[in-house]
């Protein structure tokens, strides 16, 4: 096993999907079965990335494997120094795990889509788009530098755009695609500005090189403020991509795309890229940046959870739960629970992909019915879908023995410790409230969809369990939602291989005076809980809040589930009665806090207004001056022309006229008679004599 082999395999994993895309998109129109090539590529990619995971974890668990090449080399530039833009690959444990998650879910979604998309007129193109998505997403995963991150960041944006608007005949779908791309670009501008600051300061895009220089004390413009700002700007990319408040509005609309796409891109992988980015830049976050991140995450998870409570579209509930869970992960980065942020990313990817594919299975069998008010009782018709959906719901609700319990508990403990250490108690409060709400709305969804009596009997009659190709992915994903894949101890993830061996929180590199006190290294010190990376105080606090957090989350999760059963299963309380009592709140939640309406009235209307004003200004003023000056010159030349014609030429003509006139008068003298001439001569001679008197 050597490093160059791993690099070659990584390159294969990265570029195979691109080959799949190119082939499928070019031949899709002619070869009917072109999609099989794409599915085949996707399976090879999966196998290779499993190997990559195994090889990295078994042979190089402590070592990062690096590979880079010079992409654009300017050599030495005046006023700048060396400018050599490199791209490259960085394989650490996070990378290979993430690559495995992406390729596995991508493969399962390919399989699922073979059935789900059957009969679509752009069948091959759909698979091609999946290929370019997988390529771009893997690019984000493997890159060792922030420019590469940005490049692939935009490319996933493109594939997301293409797939959301896949059924472009629907206006809502093409609107949603456009909205997703543009809203993401707002975040990307911030990220781009952050990258500019980093590159200007460090003259490199490479993460490791930036962090090295940073730990040596070099920070942008030598100021903590700029360091914080840079962190926040780059984090803006994550706000866009991971659908964080205030840019979360695109994700629920993105559900216009085919459901397997929602599972792959808008639940499991692409939207988690923001979390992945935050994890990558974790070491360069100052205390202020982290606080901003924690607050954004908390607000997002809270808002999204409150909205999810009242939605009736099965995919919308799941979409808001995704936003809420992403908020969790972002919050985890903000409170310093680095490892749990990534852990939750992985567990969430599996159970959320399972939930989305499960919802796809339901929608497929209900003939594109998405309203849970028209469902019910499907448990009997679709037992396998039901069981896998239930397992994933237990996981997202944080019930013991599931993966979600482990990762969520870690985040909750992290927020609690953060509250205790910094006094920002609102963050743990939000986090625990969300845990309660999540358990409630997810079970509301399960009960309304699968339990009770069917509410649309006609559709229920036609419902059936989905074909094998759709069910197998569900089973695989629900199995991965169990604890056993991550740790042998179902209540404490810390002892599992995932966290104790693979994922370790790195020490930060920002100057100590701009870090949270509890993140200042006291590396190497031993405590009762093993070797620690951060301060003793932090480790102690985390340990002390572990059990309180665990019990609190169990109680709240259980309570949420109980309330859901009381209302929807046992019908002890009529939900309509409650909503009637809190009508304004209910409407507020149902209408998604009116955030879309607010943006429509302000930003969108504002932009359109400015653009119309610009266009008006352009035609009437800027061009008006041009045409106006042309008019003025024309008028002036008309005046000059008149002057020329009547005054100047008039004078000329007058002279001519005068001579003519005189000529006519004098002509009479020329009679042609000799006598007249003699008289004229004599008279003239006399006049001359009189005047000149020569004698």
């Amino acid at each position: 096993m050597n490093e160059s082999l791993l690099i070659n395999i990584t390159l294969a994993v990265l570029f195979l999907p691109l080959i799949g895309f190119t082939f499928t998109v070019l031949s899709g129109g002619k070869i009917k079965k072109a999609f099989t090539f794409e599915v085949f590529i996707s399976s090879i990619t999966l196998i290779l990335s499993v190997f990559l995971l195994y090889a990295k974890i078994s042979a190089f668990v402590e070592k990062d494997i690096l590979f880079s090449f010079s992409w654009i080399n300017f050599g030495i530039l005046p006023k700048w120094g060396e400018l050599n833009i490199k791209l490259g690959i960085k394989l650490d444990n996070i990378t290979v795990i993430m690559a495995f998650v992406v390729t596995l879910i991508s493969f399962l979604v390919h399989i699922f889509s073979v059935e789900y998309m059957k009969g679509d007129k752009r069948y091959n193109r759909y698979f091609a788009y999946l290929g370019i998505f997988t390529f771009s997403m893997l690019g984000i995963v493997f890159t060792d530098n922030i420019l590469g991150m940005y490049i692939f960041w935009e490319l996933v944006g493109l594939s997301s755009y293409l797939l959301i608007g896949f059924w472009f005949e629907k206006k809502s779908a093409s609107d949603a695609g456009k909205k997703a791309f543009i809203v993401n670009r707002i975040g990307d501008i911030g990220m781009f500005a952050g990258i500019l600051i980093l590159f200007f300061t460090y003259h490199t895009f490479n993460f490791n090189e930036i962090f090295e220089q940073m730990s040596a004390g070099k920070i942008p413009f030598n100021s903590d403020f700029w360091m914080t700002l840079t962190g926040i700007l780059i984090f803006m990319g994550a706000i866009g991509k991971s659908a964080q408040f205030p840019l979360h509005v695109w994700l629920p609309d993105a559900m216009e795309g085919p459901t397997p796409v929602s599972a792959l891109i808008h639940a499991a992988t692409m939207v988690a890229a923001g979390v992945y980015l935050s994890v990558r830049i974790f070491v360069m976050l100052t205390a202020d940046t982290m606080l901003v991140i924690a607050i954004i995450g908390a607000i997002t998870s809270f808002i999204a959870a409150t909205i999810a409570l009242t939605q009736n579209d099965i995919k919308k509930v799941l979409a808001y739960s995704t936003v809420s869970q992403l908020g969790y992960m972002i919050m985890a980065v903000g409170v310093g629970a680095y490892a749990f942020a990534f852990f939750h990313l992985v567990t969430h990817a599996f159970f959320k992909a399972c939930l989305f594919l499960g919802s796809g299975s339901v929608i497929h069998s209900m003939h594109h019915e998405q309203d849970i008010q028209n469902m019910g009782g499907l448990r009997k018709k679709m037992p396998l879908t039901y069981i896998s959906f239930l397992v994933s719901t237990l996981a997202i609700s944080g019930v013991p023995f599931t993966s979600g319990f482990l990762s969520k508990d870690g985040i909750l403990a992290g927020t609690l410790a953060f509250g205790k250490l910094t006094g920002h108690w609102l963050i743990p409060i939000a986090a625990f409230t969300v845990a309660l709400m999540t358990a409630f709305y997810m079970f509301r969804l399960v009960i309304l969809t699968f339990h009770g009596e069917p509410r649309d009997v006609h559709k229920f009659e036609h419902a059936h369990e989905s074909p094998k190709l759709m069910v197998i992915p569900l089973i695989v994903l629900s199995l991965l939602s169990l604890f056993i894949f991550y740790t042998p101890n179902p209540v404490s993830p810390d002892q599992g291989w995932f966290l104790s061996e693979w994922i370790k929180t790195p020490s930060q590199v920002v100057p100590e005076n701009s870090r949270f006190d509890f993140l200042i290294n006291s590396a190497g010190e031993q405590t009762n809980h093993g070797k620690i990376i951060h301060s003793v105080e932090y480790t102690e606090t985390l340990h002390s809040v572990h059990y309180p957090a665990l019990f609190l989350s169990l109680i709240l999760g259980g309570l949420g589930i109980l309330i859901a059963f009381v209302i929807y299963q046992w019908k002890k309380i009529n939900p309509d009665a409650i909503t009637a009592k809190i009508k304004p709140l209910y409407l507020f939640s149902l209408n998604k806090w009116y955030i879309d309406e607010l943006y429509d009235k302000t930003f969108i209307a504002g932009t359109l207004l400015v653009s119309r004003l610009s266009a008006w200004f352009d035609t009437n003023l800027v061009d008006g001056i041009v045409n106006g000056s042309a008019y003025v010159i024309k008028s002036f030349s008309n005046i000059v022309g008149w002057f020329d014609k009547y005054i100047i030429d008039g004078f000329v003509n007058f002279t001519a006229f005068l001579s003519g006139f005189l000529g006519i008068g004098l002509r009479r003298l020329q009679t042609g008679k000799v006598q007249t001439y003699i008289i004229l001569v004599i008279v003239s001679a006399i006049i001359l004599f009189v005047f000149f008197r020569p004698f």
Binding site: F74, E169, L608, I625
Partner: protein, 531 residues
């Protein structure tokens, strides 16, 4: 080895073709087309040959010896005409890393435009004659190193362009043609005045005598300035600042820079497709090229002094162009305003006076040439079929013309600056450069908003034309023809290739740009120290 005058060949081949063309009888339009095509193909072959033999390590810019494919001889010499003294004009051609990409671009765009002209039906002979003449003018501007010669080529383009718009244009062609003509001529007058001013301020040493000169490179050499020349830095009452502004306005009209841009939408809307392609693809680059070739190195101290304003106008172009594009209802006008926006990046990059920024600017000139050519071809495709360009007249074309839609997607995302396409690299370099200079940093930050609005108008247009239910009116539209493939495929390949492997072109500019940047700093220091 015989020195083959490659640059003269590439410049005057079209005129030669034009003369031959006049002998072709009127009833053989195909022969006219094929001859024009042949000329542009040979031109592209020469350009490719030049590119391959181009020495990446030669700087050019201010140093005659490091220019490549040099041709220089005395063209006009009149001795002792009264107060003029010795009038001397050189036929002086050469390329460096700044002009080489433009020569290549001109050859590519001319070929594409010739293919695109195949459907011209009216006065075919006259049309192609004008097209070839225009071609010579464009090429000449990019290879001239004598300002008089530069000016002649500059003016030479006006005439064919005027007729090409005025005769083969759309409904308001007369208005558009005359507006284009007068506006550009207005700018040319400024260039002419500055050129004469420079002539009387710069003396080249030939043998032992000093003679006035139009040689651009000699104008950059500070030791050539006379003590009392009107544009000489040695003259305490010099008019260099005013001259810079005048020259800049002359070039800015061509870019076109706000507020001198309003001729562009009119000219584009009225011009036939191939002429739009040339106009956007090559002609707009002449303004920024002129600034880089003439304004920057001849007036370096004023360039530095005014760089903030140049960046400011770049920023205005980017944002204002984008906003105007957002409000358009005509497809072609939208693309025209997007040109205004994209040329703003060129200004911003140049204003940074940094290597990254100027490289980005030149690369952006090239990329805008290819991307916008593609966009105008795309407009042409739909206009040929539907005879309308209203963005709201269409809808759902993606299902009717899937291949066409594929090319449109490539071109639109290239214009948006999607990574993997050439436009991304040039915009990123412009931003890196502009951010690295204290003077232009703020404008760079604000200009990033252009990335957002660019996506806005492009995607909105894409949606209005191609998505949604197919408008039944258009259910008979056919997808691309072979001729359209021939134009769109090479452009797509160039755009994607340079997006993945930009070094292919960046390497060509690198040395020259560095020497330009150094030259500006050093010469400006010399001038300011001398004051």
């Amino acid at each position: 080895m015989v020195n083959i005058p490659y640059l003269s060949l590439i410049t005057f081949l079209p005129v030669l073709g034009m003369i031959l063309l006049l002998f072709i009888p009127k009833n053989k339009p195909e022969a006219v087309k094929i001859l024009s095509l042949l000329v542009t193909v040979i031109q592209l072959i020469i350009a490719a040959f030049l590119t391959m033999n181009f020495d990446y390590s030669a700087g050019g810019v201010f140093e005659q010896s490091s220019f490549q494919f040099l041709e220089k001889f005395r063209w006009i010499q009149l001795t002792g005409i009264s107060w003029l003294g010795n009038l001397k004009i050189d036929y002086f051609l050469g390329v460096d890393g700044i002009s080489m990409p433009m020569v290549l671009l001109t050859a590519i765009v001319s070929l594409i435009a010739t293919i695109s002209s195949w459907t011209i039906a009216k006065h075919i002979k006259g049309y192609f004659a004008m097209l070839l003449l225009l071609n010579t003018g464009m090429m000449g501007v990019f290879v001239s190193l004598d300002m008089f010669l530069f000016y002649i080529f500059w003016e030479l383009m006006l005439l064919p362009m005027y007729f090409l718009i005025g005769i083969w244009g759309g409904p308001r062609k007369e208005y558009a043609a005359i507006k284009f003509f007068i506006y550009t001529l207005f700018g040319s007058v400024f260039i002419l005045i500055v050129m004469i001013g420079l002539y009387f301020s710069v003396q080249e040493t030939i043998g032992n005598t000093k003679v006035f000169t139009f040689n651009i490179l000699e104008m950059m050499n500070q030791s050539n300035y006379t003590a009392d020349g009107i544009l000489s830095p040695l003259n305490p009452y010099n008019l260099r600042f005013a001259a810079y502004i005048a020259l800049f306005v002359g070039f800015a009209i061509k870019i076109p820079m706000f507020p001198f841009h309003t001729w562009l939408p009119d000219a584009h809307v009225e011009a036939p497709t191939p002429i739009s392609v040339i106009l956007a693809g090559v002609l707009l680059k002449m303004g920024t090229y002129g600034i880089l070739r003439i304004s920057f190195p001849i007036f370096p101290e004023i360039t530095i002094q005014l760089s903030w304003y140049i960046a400011l106008f770049g920023m205005i172009n980017i944002l204002y162009g984008a906003f105007c594009a957002l409000a358009q209802k005509d497809f072609k006008k939208l693309i025209a305003y997007s040109s205004v926006s994209h040329m703003g990046y060129v200004l911003l990059g140049m204003a940074s006076l940094s290597s990254a920024g100027i490289t980005g600017a030149i690369f952006q000139m090239f990329n805008h040439g290819t991307i916008t050519s593609m966009l105008f071809l795309i407009v042409g495709v739909i206009y040929d079929r539907a005879h309308t360009r209203g963005l709201d007249d269409f809808g759902g074309l993606a299902s009717q013309m899937p291949v066409y839609t594929g090319f449109v997607t490539v071109a639109f995302f290239a214009a948006i600056g999607l990574p993997g396409m050439s436009g991304f690299i040039s915009e990123a370099l412009v931003f890196i450069g502009a951010f690295s200079n204290d003077t232009t940093r703020i404008t760079a930050i604000i200009s990033t908003l252009g990335i957002l609005f660019g996506a806005g108008y492009m995607l909105w247009a894409l949606q209005r034309i191609f998505f949604g239910k197919l408008n039944e009116k258009w259910s008979s539209l056919t997808d691309l023809t072979a001729r359209e493939y021939i134009m769109l495929i090479p452009l797509s390949i160039i755009i994607i290739f340079l997006g993945i492997y930009p070094s292919a072109m960046l390497g060509m500019m690198n040395t020259s740009v560095n020497s330009l940047v150094n030259f500006i700093t050093e010469t400006s220091n010399i001038i300011t120290a001398g004051l």
